[in-house]
Amino acid sequence: MTRYETLVAQWRRNLPPGLVVGGGLIVALTLIALFAPQLAPHNPATLFPNGLTAAGTPLPPSRVFPLGTDAYGRDELSRLLYGGRVTLLIAGVSGFFATAIGTVVGIASAYWEGFWGNLIARFTDIVMSLPVTLLAIAMVMVTEPNLGSLIGVIVFVSWSYTARLIRQEVLTIREAEYVAMARALGARDLRVMAVHVLPQVIRTAVARFTLTVSQVVLLASGLSFLGAGVQSPQVDWGLMIAQAQNYYSSDPSLMFWPGLAIILTVAAFSMTGEALAEQLSRTPKVRR
């Protein structure tokens, strides 16, 4: 085998189809969200006077409005392109913080044996057994409804699964000889955790990040749908479906497109996350 062929083979092994398709979709969706202002034919918030029929119902697709208009005479395509921006922002930011918190909590609870470790693990279990949507609604209601508090609420309900998973891994890592060695050499707990344990779980954390993002997209759009998430006049797919609900008999496409967008986004992230997780389970772990 030439060097080139080896490289290609390696590349194939490292890039399973799920990762390529999922990752490609993520890049595409992110680009659309970033360049929505350039891509969209209209301003998504403009209420076009010519955007409704004489009877006041949404317009079907036309040259001016490629996917038609919504119930308020706004351009559906532009709203669809803009609709991913807030969702992806929320999902990316809260996915990042949820994963970071989950990783830190997971490592700490496994590393510190005994009372404190157990207490943290128990707290993780409790957060996992809370009714997520209800809690998120309650928290959104008592805090100021803005993007920051929404992200905070979502982070609070999303970190626990990662924490539990990382804890299980660290329970094994903790017993490894290099950890004992590091401690014998006088490294402090924090240093052992940051320098010796963290690198071992970082790939699990990356896989969890993409999976968390896909779950947050579902949760956040659900909250927007319920009126407890992204608020009008901001554009959001969940909100679009909520607004289209009253028109599903006359204009089913109004709820079809944003639904498809959500499915595509969730699928892209979960596909990537699962491909990453599977790759992880196939690679031999250097632990002992």
Binding site: P131, I137, Y248
Partner: protein, 309 residues
């Protein structure tokens, strides 16, 4: 075994207390002034002062917390702002609808998910496996509020087979679509879980031993694979049970199904914080109870847990 049960029970009580702490934090500590929130925007200073005193807000936080827990333990979840009746009464009033939906949802997800998962595990890489994987993939990516709306549109509006949302007689017809909406997402979960578990168990040495000693395929499946898959299935069912009971808000809202989730959603519009927080507490209680029952059932069906404790 008794020790294990007691410890598990004690743990459930601690869980409840901690959930209580979280909800206490929600109502009493987060908003700038709960008395003002309850009194409304037009109340004068004297009224707010009276409400502060009534709520015990002029007392130290730890004392407020103990009083709050004491009230919750006695089933007093506060008073709904909108209806001016005890929250707990409203919760029990709407609970039967949620219970009905829960039962329907769990039955449907098992009916759909179980065969799919088993087929794709036992006939791996067949067309059925691929179809099932496709279903799992979609089922997990589709937002339930969208599935519900699409089902309403197709089966209710276009084909006119079923009523468009609502609650009441005929029960089966009204229940089918919301239960199916819950069931599709759940079934995807079950199919994936079962496939993975069955394939996992099939790889175990004891299965090879059973085959080697000449048991028929059917016997291997029934006597050796089945009992080893059952606990995971049960755990998942226990978790769903609690999760649905806690009110699947979105599905209840889409179908106008008057359960506790729908009620909490209605309470958003009226900023009825005691009602919503009470629903969180109530829902968490059901989830904790379901997890407890599942873990105790383990004692009964899984000899490893029974011996281990």
């Amino acid at each position: 075994m008794v020790v294990y049960s007691l410890r598990r029970l004690g743990w459930a009580v601690i869980e409840l207390l901690m959930v209580g702490a979280i909800t206490f934090f929600l109502i009493y500590l987060v908003p700038a002034d709960p008395a003002r929130a309850i009194a409304g925007p037009h109340a004068n200073a004297a009224t707010i002062q009276i409400i502060r005193h009534q709520l015990g807000l002029d007392q130290p936080v730890y004392w407020q917390f103990l009083r709050y827990i004491g009230r919750v333990v006695r089933g007093n979840f506060g008073t709904s702002i909108q209806y001016d009746v005890p929250v707990i009464r409203l919760l029990w009033q709407h609970f039967p609808a949620t219970l009905l939906l829960t039962i329907g949802g769990v039955i449907l997800e098992v009916l759909i998910g179980l065969p799919l998962g088993l087929i794709s595990a036992f006939k791996r890489h067949s067309i059925w496996d691929h179809l099932s994987s496709g279903f799992v993939f979609l089922g997990l990516a589709m937002p339930p509020f969208w599935v519900g709306t699409v089902l309403l549109f197709l089966l209710g509006y276009r084909l006119k087979l079923l009523p468009i949302g609502g609650y009441g007689a005929p029960w089966a017809a009204h229940l089918l679509l919301p239960a199916l909406t819950l069931g599709i997402g759940g079934a995807a979960y079950y199919a994936r879980l079962l496939r993975a578990r069955v394939l996992d168990v099939m790889d175990q040495p004891f299965v090879r031993v059973a085959q080697a000693k000449g048991l028929s395929y059917r016997q291997v499946v029934i006597r050796h694979i089945g009992p080893n898959v059952l606990p995971s299935l049960l755990t998942q069912m226990g978790m769903d049970w609690g999760y649905f009971m806690g009110g699947v808000v979105v599905v209840e809202v889409v179908f106008g199904w008057p359960g506790i989730g729908w009620q909490a959603w209605m309470a958003i519009q009226n900023l009825d914080i005691p009602l919503i927080v009470g629903t969180v507490l109530f829902g968490a209680g059901w989830i904790i109870l379901a997890n407890l029952v599942t873990d105790l059932l383990y004692l009964w069906i899984d000899p490893r847990v029974r011996m281990g404790s």
